[in-house]
Amino acid sequence: MSEHLPPKSSVKRWLVTTNHKDIGILYIITSLFFLIFGGILAFMIRVQMWNSGTVILSELGYNQVVTAHGLLMVFWFLSPFAFGLANYLVPLQIGADDLAFPRINAMSYWLYLFSGVILGISFFQGSTLPTGWTLYAPLNLPAFIPSVAELGAFSGILALAVFVASVTLGSVNFLTTMYRMRADGLRMRDVPLFSISILLTVWMMLFAFTALLAAILLLSFDHIFAGSAGSGFFGSSEGGSLLWTHLFWFFGHPEVYIVFFPALGAMAEIVQTFSGRRLVGRKWFIIAMALVAIQSFIVWMHHMFLTSINLPIKTVMMVTTIGISLPFDLMIFALIYTMIKGRVRWKTPFLFVLGAILLFILGGITGVFLGAIVLDYSFRGTYWVVAHFHYVMASGAVALIGGIYYWYPKITGKMYNEFLGKVHFAAAFVGFNLLYFPMFVVWETPRRWFHYEAGFTIWHQAASVGAFVFGASFLIMFYNLVASLYSDRVVDESPWAYTGSAEWSVSSPPPEGNFPGKPSFATGKLNFLDGAATDGGEADAKTDGGVATAADAIEQEADHTSWWPVILCTTGLITAVGISGLEESYFIWPFVFAIPFYIAFVGLRGASKDGFGVVHGLYLLLAGPLLAAFLLLFNLHHGIEAGFGQANTYFWVTLVGIISGVGALVGMGFESFFAPEPELAEQWPFEGVDNTKLGMWVFLSSDIVLFGAFIGSYIFMRLRAGWQDWWHIAHENGLAEHAVLPGLINTYILLASSFTVVLALAYAKRGDKLKTLAFLSATFVGGCLFLVNKGIEWVEYYFHFGWVFDSGPASVTYYLTTGLHAVHVVIGMLILLFLIARASRGAYWSEGETAHTVEYFGLYWHFVDIVWLFLFPLFYIL
């Protein structure tokens, strides 16, 4: 299977590559493209602000521009820019060949790119989101979005959803890699600071973005079911508006550090190198960062000081907010003191980082103003906030630009032009301050207004000039970075003096397998151990919790190419574009129709891959009648002819997208792709857990947050409505009777299905194929029973009682939370079908893999069971 990477000059290379260095480059280039995109929008804002009420954009246009500018810069530029560097550097810094899941890494990239494309498309669907990047409810709902803008607005929301998918996959991947694939002897605390900062960043991403996903899923519901959902979730006058801010800022504050941390890591590395001194208080620097990462989840309400939250919680949040600012003081002082007694060279990367430190000091001090609630009351919604967070965010961006100059020779093998680099810095630094400092002076300008007091004009014009200078400075950078590629300034391993981390010990650019031998720090410094391959193969007895990989892994070479990530993500793009314009009554149908196709694909692909077996015949036989049954249901709903005749284009786009999507999913599932786990690696604290299992647990941990956010929303709404009045209100709203028994029955069913999975695992471990298959099938039947029981309940409530989505907070939370759970069950069942097909043909048995695969699946299934164990009391009993 192992196919070598095509040369870099071929387009194919960049489509099929799963190599972390290639993907890093793709990330960097793509994010710079989005920087230009967001930058042009920023120009439009500054032109509109040239005079009070200058109009080059309509009011709707202006709102779109401020929204898209914010979203693009925060989501599609800053984070991915950092993750381009992270993709390239983290494996090099920790001594790994690649990330743990290379194909998933490629998927992260394609999902990122396509999510940006969806946002771009939204501009051409009438209008993109006009709600501000914070998307406050209920302005983010169809009822308040001008009808011309609804299609594009929903596209914008879907773009965010796809982006979150990319981020979640990336977080799982990076966490697994960094915990399981460090070079021998490299303890976590000794990992270079940039990688440490990435580790903490992905931890925050894992949880924060999942909270955002929950908010986006709920918001998507409000958009899709705008008709029958009435005021929906966030339009509910029972706290819907406030709930959005809770969910958004629970994500939003960690997001600030998610954006800033990689920059901090880059700052630390660059200050070390160009001061020629190890970071002062390195240990405390790391501890401070870790503290911030944890604390970032308990400060979110400082964005809500003027809402109706009570004074005690404001006080708590004020204290935690001030508390979180202190570790930053320590980090900044550590950076400053590192320069003392240093060998400071004022090269371009250092200049950028020095500039970033200065900007951050200003951003930090003006942030303390905002921490004082009384002052915040007046600063809220003004240009003080705008100026403050631009100082902080741009400090991060400037540091990362420094990082690009710093690692440019490593990535390209060529040195950039130092003089042009310095010119870029000077122009950028002057331009930036000219752009944002005046905003502190005229801070009384209300945010997102383009009308302001006459006296402010000169300051706003200065800012606009600054924007021009700042923007233009990047042209110098682009020229420099491109032109230098063709220069003769070739560099060796480390063009810089005083470099410490491992990426500087290999050639520039590094070889395809990253290292000339197996990297090891066992002797106290980096050595490359001999050995033909870079993966596995050492007979070294000193394994600390080394993982038992398949016996033949040693000879097998790692795979570096796959078409499936780009294909699968393209189908995702098509589906998302389709969904944006899908009519409410058509919404579920493309997904329902895709199920029989999936089953048929598993049958077909399985037969050709594993050899035809009874199970494939069964699947193919099942798919046809199932499709017919669904068509029959569709006929009942719409009438076949009328239904398909009147379906809009978006319906067909979705259908094509999702059906090819399940095809691609099956294709990827059946592809054998070998990504070796290092046999000799530092794996604290996850020794003895293989990569896939750890990945699964990381994913489940984020899924806990997804369900948790749904359940938390329910509890919030219920507390707000009066906890014990809840069912009373529901009864008034049409719920004739709320029965506990169906919930109890479903609890039994799910528990039983968990039991059968665990039995399947027990038998798989013993190699008893028949019993394994029997219990897997029993689990599938359990899932079916659960769904049937659930379906009866829904039909009873929805159609017979008329307790529809719109029947108050109790109904909307009930349907959405149990619905999300049911979707998890369906996904589990589809995976089961795949598993049964493969296991029955013995695909895994020969490699001893069945037990592992059943185990991973079991973890997911048990998790879904556990969620139900809480839904049962919360939505049925209490």
């Binding site: 949880f207 909270a211 706290g239 406030l242 709930l243 809770h246 629970f250 989840f297 809500m304 109706s308 939250i309 009570n310 005690p312 919680i313 604290p685 996850f686 020794e687 857990v689 750890l694 647990w697 990381v698 489940l700 941990s701 984020s702 899924d703 806990i704 947050v705 948790g708 956010a709 359940i711 938390g712 509890i715 919030f716 507390l719 707000r720 014990q724 506990v740 028994l741 109890l744 609890t747 039994y748 528990l751 039983a752 968990s754 039991f755 999975v757 665990v758 039995l759 027990a762 079991g858 048990h862 998790f863 069971d865 556990i866 164990l869 809480f870 049962f872 009391p873 009993i877 209490l878």
Partner: protein, 88 residues
């Protein structure tokens, strides 16, 4: 076979606890609502620990896997408690 026996015992216990939850709800007088709430949620937590501990064999994994899952739970509790408290 030891495993399978243990799994069976746990399964039966889980079923029994669920039944208990159902019974608690139906027999408890209104006045003891909050007591019942705590009891029922505590029983659910017990069940969750049983499933996670034995069926997901968290007991046999390195403790750090448990901490990983608990990190997610910490986020959820922070969000729910914070948001809930802010409006009561």
């Amino acid at each position: 076979m030891a495993n399978i026996k243990l799994y069976t015992i746990i399964f039966v216990a889980l079923g029994a606890i669920s039944t208990t939850q159902f019974v608690v709800e139906s027999v408890l007088p209104e006045g003891l609502y909050w007591f019942g709430l705590v009891a029922i949620l505590a029983l659910s937590t017990m069940k969750a620990f049983a499933v996670a501990g034995w069926y997901m064999h968290l007991r046999e994994e390195p403790r750090s896997i448990t901490y990983l899952a608990m990190a997610g739970v910490f986020c959820v509790l922070a969000l729910t408690a914070g948001a809930g408290y802010s409006v009561v």
